[in-house]
C-alpha cells in the first residue's frame, strides 16, 4: 500500500486506515516555540518512516516559512490554515474524523501558541482519545528559557497527554533533561536526533531529498560519497528504531489498558 497522497492545497482528506490494523492511531505533534531546532526534520523522518513501510499516514504542515514539510514531501502533505474559525473547523474536524490513521503535524514556532490555545479550547486531546486516537507531543528541546517555559506550560495544561522531549544533539547537546524537560508520558521512550556531518546535512536540507531514495544512482544521490550515504542510512535507521519504540510502547500501553479493563469487568 502506498502512503497517502493528499492535495496539499487544502486541508485533511482522510485516507483510509490499513486493513487489519487496529488500536489507537497516534497524532504526532512536532513542535517547539523556537525556530531552527529540527522540527521539520523530525516530521520528515516520521513521514518517511511510514512511507518506508508503505503505510498509510497523513501529514500536515503548519509552518509559515520555507522550506517546510510540504516542500520536502510535496505530494504527501497538506497545508492547513488555523487562523480563522472556518479553517479551524475544516482542519480539526478532519483530523478527528480521519480516525485510525497516524497523523503528523509540523507546528511552526510562530503557530505554537495559537495551535495549543485552540487545542485547549476545543478539547482536541480529550476528543481524540474518545475516538481511539493517541496524541503525542514531540517537543524539540533547546537551551533557551522560552523552550523550558513552554514545555512546563504544556506539561501542566495537558497533563495525562504524552509530552516527549526530543533532543536534537545539534542544538541541545549536553542539555540536562530532567530539570527543565522532565519526561511526561507513560511511553518509556527517549528520542534523540544525532549530529550529522556537514556533507550529509547539506544534502538532507535540499528540497526533494528523501531518505527512501538513498540507494538511487541519480543526482543528487549519485554525487554523494559512500561514507555520506552510509552515514545518512545509519541516521535514518536509528530514527526509525526510535519511532518503532514509540509504536511498541503504544501497543504495550493498549494491551495493559485492555487487560486492566478485563480484570475490572
Amino acid at each position: 500500500m502506498n502512503a497517502s497522497a493528499i492535495d496539499r492545497r487544502n486541508t485533511p482528506v482522510a485516507p483510509s486506515p490499513e486493513p487489519g490494523r487496529s488500536g489507537r492511531a497516534p497524532i504526532y505533534i512536532v513542535c517547539s516555540p523556537n525556530r531552527q531546532v529540527g522540527k521539520t526534520m523530525l516530521a520528515r523522518l516520521l513521514a518517511e518512516h511510514y512511507m518506508a513501510d508503505s503505510r498509510v499516514f497523513a501529514a500536515y504542515d503548519l509552518s509559515d516559512e520555507a522550506p517546510g514539510l510540504a516542500d520536502f514531501l510535496t505530494h504527501y502533505v497538506s497545508i492547513p490554515n488555523i487562523r480563522d474559525m472556518r479553517s479551524q473547523v475544516r482542519f480539526f474536524d478532519g483530523l478527528i474524523e480521519a480516525g485510525n490513521v497516524p497523523k503528523i503535524i509540523d507546528v511552526s514556532h510562530r503557530e505554537f501558541a495559537n495551535f495549543f490555545t485552540i487545542v485547549d479550547k476545543i478539547g482536541l486531546f480529550e476528543e481524540a482519545r474518545r475516538r481511539t486516537i493517541e496524541p503525542l507531543i514531540l517537543f524539540l528541546i533547546d537551551p533557551s528559557p522560552v523552550a523550558a517555559k513552554a514545555y512546563g506550560l504544556l506539561r501542566r495544561r495537558f497533563s495525562g497527554i504524552s509530552l516527549l522531549p526530543v533532543r536534537n544533539l545539534t542544538v541541545a547537546k549536553g542539555l540536562p533533561y530532567c530539570a527543565s524537560f522532565p519526561h511526561a508520558s507513560k511511553l518509556v521512550v527517549s528520542l534523540e536526533m544525532a549530529v550529522l556531518g556537514h556533507a550529509a546535512r547539506a544534502l538532507v536540507e535540499r528540497e526533494k531529498f528523501s531518505f527512501l531514495n538513498l540507494a538511487k544512482q541519480t543526482p543528487p544521490y549519485s554525487d554523494m560519497s559512500a561514507r555520506t550515504r552510509a552515514e545518512l542510512d545509519a541516521w535514518f535507521r536509528r530514527a526509525r528504531f526510535q519511532f518503532r519504540e514509540i509504536e511498541l510502547s503504544l501497543i504495550r500501553e493498549q494491551i495493559l489498558a485492555a487487560l486492566q479493563s478485563d480484570l475490572c469487568a
Binding site: F92, D93, K121, G123, L124
Partner: protein, 265 residues
C-alpha cells in the same frame, strides 16, 4: 428547605442578548440539577421556546390571565426556578405589574426569592435603564449583565458615569458574559437545541447530531466561562434562605456535568 425563585431576564432595549442569557441560565441550572420552568414573553412566537420547548411556555406578560399563570403558580409548580425572558420594552412595565400585584412585597418577606438579570447594551441609555429599574429592586438580587456575545464593546461608557449608576444600587452585582464566535453561535441557533445538548452532540430528540467537534469545543469553553461567572456571583444562593446564603461556600459547576438527557430536557 430551598425557597422557590423567580428570575427575570430583561432589558428595555432589544438585541442585547436577553434570550441568549436566559438560555445559559437554563443550562446552568440544569447542570446543577435545579428544576426550572421558563416563560417566553415574545408572544405569540417565542424564541426561548425554540431552544427549550419542554419547559417553556409563551405568554403575554401584560395580560392578567398570563400573569396569573406565571405568578400564582410559583410555589405550586414544583419547580425551584421560574425564569421569565422579558421581551424588549417590557422590563419596566413588568416590574410595575409585579409591584402592583404585591409580588415584590412577598419577596421582601422572604417567602420567595427574586432576581433580575438586567442585560445592558453599549449605549448610555442602558445606564438610564439601571436607574429606572433599580427603584423596584431594593430587596431583590440585581445582576447587571454585560453581554459580550454579540460583540458589544461598551466603548461609549465613561467608567465614572457607569460607577455612579452602579453604586446607587447596593446589591447590584456585575456579570460579564464572554464572547462566543459568530460561527459557533450561528450553528447553535440553527440547531435549535440548548447549549448543553449541542455540546453533547445531540439533536433535540436525543439522537447523535454530528455537529462540528471544533464548534462544540468552542461552545463548551465559552459556556464554562459563563458558568464560572454564575458561580462567582453565587447564583444558586438565591434559592437559600437569606441567612444561610451568606455563609454558604461556593461550589462550581462545569459544562461537562451536563448529561445529554438532562441538557435536552
Amino acid at each position: 428547605m430551598p425557597r422557590p425563585a423567580v428570575i427575570l431576564v430583561g432589558a428595555d432595549k432589544g438585541g442585547v442578548g436577553k434570550t441568549t442569557v436566559s438560555r445559559t441560565l437554563l443550562d446552568y441550572f440544569a447542570s446543577r440539577k435545579i428544576t426550572t420552568r421558563a416563560f417566553d414573553t415574545e408572544c405569540p412566537k417565542g424564541t426561548l421556546k425554540r431552544f427549550h420547548p419542554g419547559i417553556t411556555d409563551v405568554v403575554d406578560v401584560t395580560s392578567v390571565p398570563d400573569q396569573m399563570k406565571i405568578f400564582d403558580t410559583v410555589e405550586s409548580s414544583g419547580t425551584q426556578i421560574t425564569l421569565i425572558d422579558i421581551r424588549a420594552g417590557l422590563m419596566t412595565p413588568t416590574l410595575e405589574a409585579l409591584r402592583n400585584i404585591g409580588f415584590i412585597d412577598m419577596t421582601k418577606r422572604g417567602d420567595l426569592a427574586f432576581a433580575v438579570f438586567h442585560i445592558l447594551g453599549p449605549s448610555i441609555a442602558s445606564l438610564d435603564e439601571i436607574a429606572e429599574t433599580s427603584k423596584f429592586l431594593l430587596d431583590a438580587r440585581y445582576f447587571l449583565v454585560k453581554n459580550f456575545i454579540n460583540n458589544t464593546t461598551f466603548f461609549d461608557w465613561d467608567e465614572g458615569t457607569y460607577n455612579s449608576y452602579f453604586n446607587r444600587i447596593p446589591h447590584a452585582v456585575e456579570v460579564a458574559v464572554p464572547k462566543l464566535s459568530e460561527m459557533a453561535c450561528e450553528k447553535v441557533e440553527l440547531s435549535a437545541v440548548p447549549f448543553g445538548t449541542f455540546i453533547a452532540d445531540r439533536t433535540a430528540s436525543g439522537q447523535p447530531a454530528g455537529y462540528s467537534f471544533v464548534l462544540r469545543g468552542y461552545v463548551r469553553h465559552w459556556l464554562n466561562g459563563v458558568f464560572t461567572e454564575y458561580d462567582r456571583v453565587r447564583l444558586t444562593d438565591i434559592l437559600e434562605s437569606q441567612d444561610s446564603a451568606a455563609a454558604k461556600p461556593r461550589a462550581s459547576a462545569k459544562v461537562a456535568e451536563l448529561s445529554p438527557q438532562r441538557a435536552s430536557s
